[in-house]
C-alpha cells in the first residue's frame, strides 16, 4: 500500500514537471508573481503627495502653518490657488490630491480670540492618498490650535503643566500594533501572496483526475493504485502537498526576508496552518476534478470559486461590514479561516493554540472534501476497471 502510494506520488510529480498547465502555475508563476507584488509596494508608504495652498490670509501664521505642512511625510506643496473652483480644476487634472485653505484675517482672528476654521480639501475618490493628506494636515492644524491655547493659558500665569492639562485633559496614547507605521507593503503583500498560493493549488488540482481521463491514462493510474481510490488520492495529494512546500519555502525563505517581511519564530506555526490550507485546497480541487470530467469546466469552476477569495476573506474590507450572504460565501472558502489564523500567527506572532478554531474549520474542509473525492474516485476507478477487464480478457 505504501509502495503504491509512493509510486503514484512519484508519477504525479513527473506529471507536474512535464505539463505546462501544471509546472508554470505551480513552479514558474509563483516566483514571478510574489516578487512582483513585493516590488509594487517597495516604497512602503506614499510620501510627498502634491497639495495646493489657498492662502487668503497671507500672514506670518499662514506661512508658518504652510512650513509645518511641508515638513509632514505625505504633504508636498506644489501649487498655490485662489479659489475652490481652481483647486477643484487642479484635482480634476490630477495635479493635486488635496489643498489647505487659510481664511482671510486668520491671524487677526486668532489674536482677537475669534475661532477660525482652516479647511482641508482632499480628493476622496483617491481614498488612500486622501486619508494620508488629511491625517497629516489635521495633525498640524490641531497642534497649531493647541499652541495658541497654550500661549493664552500661560499668559494668565498658569504653569505649562496645568495649561497642557487644559488643552488636552485626557492624553490619548495610541499604539498601532503589528504595523506601527502603516507600512502598505508589509500589510498587503502577505495577503496577496497567500491568496495566490491558495489559487495556484486549486487551479492545478482541479485537473488532477479529469486530465487522466482526457489523456486516456486512467487505466494505468487505476492499476498503479491497485484499484484503491484511497491510495490513488493519497499519492496525488502527497505530490501536490510537497509541491506547495516549494512555494512556502520561496515565500518565507526568500521573498519575505529580502523585503524585510519575515517575522522570526513564526515559520513553524505558519507551516502547520499552511499545510492544513493546502490539504483543504487539494481536497476541493480533487473533488471538483473527479466530479467534472470536462477539464475546462473544472477550471472554470476553480476560477469562479477562487477569484473572489481575497476580497471575501475580509483582508481589505472587514467581513462584518459585508451583507450576511457574502459572509456565508466567505465561510465556504478555505482561505477565510487560513487568513484569520494568518493574522494571529504571522502579524500578531501568537502561539499556534490561538489558531485552534481556524485549524478545526480547515480540518472540516479536509475531512468532507477528501471523503467526497475518494467516494467518487472509487466509483470512477471501478468503472474503468470493469470496462478494461473484458478488453484485457479478450
Amino acid at each position: 500500500m505504501i509502495r503504491a502510494t509512493a509510486q503514484i506520488a512519484l508519477r504525479e510529480w513527473k506529471r507536474i514537471l512535464t505539463r505546462k498547465d501544471h509546472y508554470i502555475v505551480l513552479l514558474v508563476l509563483p516566483a514571478f508573481l510574489f516578487f512582483f507584488y513585493a516590488f509594487i509596494f517597495d516604497k512602503q508608504q506614499a510620501e510627498d503627495l502634491p497639495v495646493a495652498i489657498w492662502d487668503d490670509d497671507r500672514s506670518a501664521v499662514s506661512r508658518q502653518i504652510t512650513f509645518l505642512l511641508e515638513q509632514t511625510a505625505s504633504i508636498h506643496i506644489t501649487a498655490s490657488v485662489s479659489s475652490e473652483n481652481e483647486l477643484r480644476q487642479l484635482m480634476q487634472e490630477k495635479k493635486i490630491i488635496g489643498a489647505v485653505h487659510f481664511p482671510k484675517n486668520m491671524e487677526k482672528d486668532i489674536k482677537s480670540r475669534h475661532p477660525v476654521k482652516v479647511a482641508v480639501y482632499t480628493n476622496a475618490s483617491a481614498l488612500i492618498p486622501s486619508k494620508l493628506v488629511y491625517k497629516d494636515a489635521a495633525g498640524v492644524i490641531i497642534t497649531v490650535g493647541a499652541g495658541v491655547n497654550l500661549q493664552k493659558f500661560m499668559k494668565t500665569g498658569m504653569t505649562e503643566g496645568k495649561a497642557m492639562a487644559l488643552i488636552m485633559p485626557v492624553k490619548l496614547q495610541l499604539f498601532t500594533l503589528y504595523n506601527p507605521t502603516y507600512n502598505y507593503q508589509h500589510y498587503l503583500v502577505p495577503g496577496l501572496v497567500t491568496v495566490a498560493m491558495m489559487m495556484m493549488i486549486i487551479m492545478v488540482t482541479v485537473l488532477i483526475f479529469n486530465k487522466e481521463w482526457e489523456e486516456g491514462t486512467e487505466q494505468e493510474l487505476a492499476e498503479l493504485g491497485k484499484g484503491n481510490a484511497g491510495v490513488v488520492f493519497t499519492g496525488k495529494a502527497l505530490a501536490h502537498l510537497t509541491a506547495s512546500w516549494i512555494n512556502f519555502a520561496l515565500v518565507f525563505g526568500i521573498v519575505f526576508p529580502i523585503f524585510s517581511m519575515y517575522h522570526a519564530g513564526t515559520w513553524w506555526s505558519l507551516f502547520v496552518m499552511f499545510n492544513l490550507m493546502s490539504l483543504a485546497c487539494i481536497g476541493i480541487g480533487a473533488m471538483v476534478s473527479v466530479i467534472m470530467l470536462d477539464v475546462m469546466l473544472a477550471l472554470d469552476f476553480g476560477i469562479f470559486y477562487t477569484s473572489p477569495a481575497f476580497v471575501f476573506s475580509g483582508f481589505t474590507f472587514p467581513r462584518w461590514g459585508m451583507p450576511w450572504y457574502d459572509q456565508y460565501y466567505a465561510a465556504i472558502m478555505p482561505y477565510t479561516p487560513f487568513l484569520d489564523a494568518f493574522f494571529k500567527l504571522y502579524f500578531m506572532e501568537l502561539p499556534l493554540r490561538y489558531a485552534g478554531p481556524e485549524a478545526l474549520r480547515l480540518l472540516l474542509f479536509i475531512g468532507s472534501t477528501f471523503f467526497i473525492a475518494v467516494f467518487f474516485l472509487q466509483k470512477r476507478l471501478d468503472k474503468t476497471q470493469t470496462h478494461a477487464a473484458p478488453v484485457t480478457a479478450s
Binding site: K20, D21, I24, V25, L29, L33, F36, Y37, F39, I40, D42, E47, M91, Q92, E93, I110, R113, H114, P115, V118, A119, V120, Y121, T122, N123, S125, L127, Y134, V148, N149, K162, I167, P169, V170, K171, L172, Q173, L174, F175, T176, Y178, N179, P180, Y184, A196, M203, M296, L297, D300, I303, S307, P308, F317, P318, W320, G321, P323, F347, L350, Y354
Partner: protein, 386 residues
Amino acid sequence: MLLRLLLREVKRIAADHSLVLTLLLAPLVYVFFYGSIYQYKAEEEVPIAVVDDDRTGLSQTLITQIDNSQMVNVALRTTLEGAKESMYQGHTQGFLYIEKGMEQKVLSLRQADMVLAVNAARFLPSSEVAGAITQIGLTAGAGVRLQYLQKKGMNTEMSMQEVMPVNVDYRPMFNSRSDYGTFLLPGLIAMILQQTLLIGLAGGSAAERQRGSISEWMQMAGGNASMALWGKGLFYFLLFCAYAYFFLTVNFRVLELEILGSGWELAVITVIFLLSLIPMGIFTGLLFKSQLLATQLMVFSTYPIFLITGYSWPLSEMPPFVKAVSYLLPITPFLGLYQGVVQQGAHITDRLPDLYHLLGLWCFYAAICLWKMRSLYKPNAVAQAG
C-alpha cells in the same frame, strides 16, 4: 464579410461552454457578486474592548460617546489581560484602557492618560477607529476647557470661542463620506469588464491556435488580417458595450453610485477602451497553444493589473519598472479618464494626456496583434486540410 466573421465567432462561443461561462455569465455574476460586498460602503461598529479602571462619571461619559460613534462597538472587559486576550482571539480589534483616577486628575488640572491599542494588521478598521476615538478625546478636552472657562466667569458665547481657536474643517471632495465603497466600486466594475473580456478573448484565441483554425479564420476574411481582427472583435465589442451600458446604469443605480460627469464622454472613453482591449486580448491568446493555460494565466493577471493601475496606490510611488508595465495597460489611462468623468465630474479635456495614451495603446495593440496574426497565418493550411 464582417457579419460572416461575427457569426463565426457566435458559433464558436456557443459551442464552447467555457467561453459561454466566461463571456456571458461571469460578467453579470461578478458585477453583482463583488458589488454586494461594498453595498454598505463603509465598515462600521468595529469591536473594541474597553477596560475602565476609573469607573467615574467622566469615564462613563467617554465610553458612552465612543460606543455611540458609528465606527466603534464597545465590548467592556474587566481586566487589561482580558482585553488583550479578546484581541488575540480575534473577537475585538484593539482595546482602550482608562486609568484609575482619570476624573480626579482632570478636575485637579493634571493631564490624565488613556491608552488605545489598535490591531493595525487590519489596516482599514484600525485607522478608522484611531481617528474616531482621537476625535472623541479632542471633543472631551474641549468640553473640559469650556467648563473651566465658564467657572472663571466667562459667558457661554465667549468661552465657546476660546475653547477651539483653530479648527479643522474637513471637506472631502468627490466622495463626501470618504467611504471605501464609493472609492472602490467604480474601479472594480471597470476591472470586471476588462478581465472577463480579456480572459474570454485570450482563451478563445488560444483555442483557435490549439484547434488549428487560425488559417480558416483568416481565409474567411479574405486573407486580410485587419478584417479578421475586427470581424472577430465586432462580437466582443457589441457584447461588452452592452455590458458597459448595463453596469453603468443598472449596477450604478443598485449600488447608489453617481456619474458626476458627462455620459457621452464616458461612452467615448469606454468605446476606445474596449477597442484597445480587443487586439490586446487576441494577441495575448495567440501567444498560447493551449486554451487551458491561457485561461489559467490570465486569471492570475487580475490582481497585479488592478494594483498597478494607480487606482488604489499612486503611480508616482511605484518603481520605474512597475510604472513601465502599468503604462502598457489600456486600463491605466482609461481609469484616469473614467475616474475623472465618473467620480470627479471632469471632462476628457482635463485629462488629455490619458486620452492620447489610451489611443496610442489602441494603435500599439492593433499593430502587434495584426503582426502576430499574419505570422501565424499559413494560406495553404486550409486547402491542405481540405
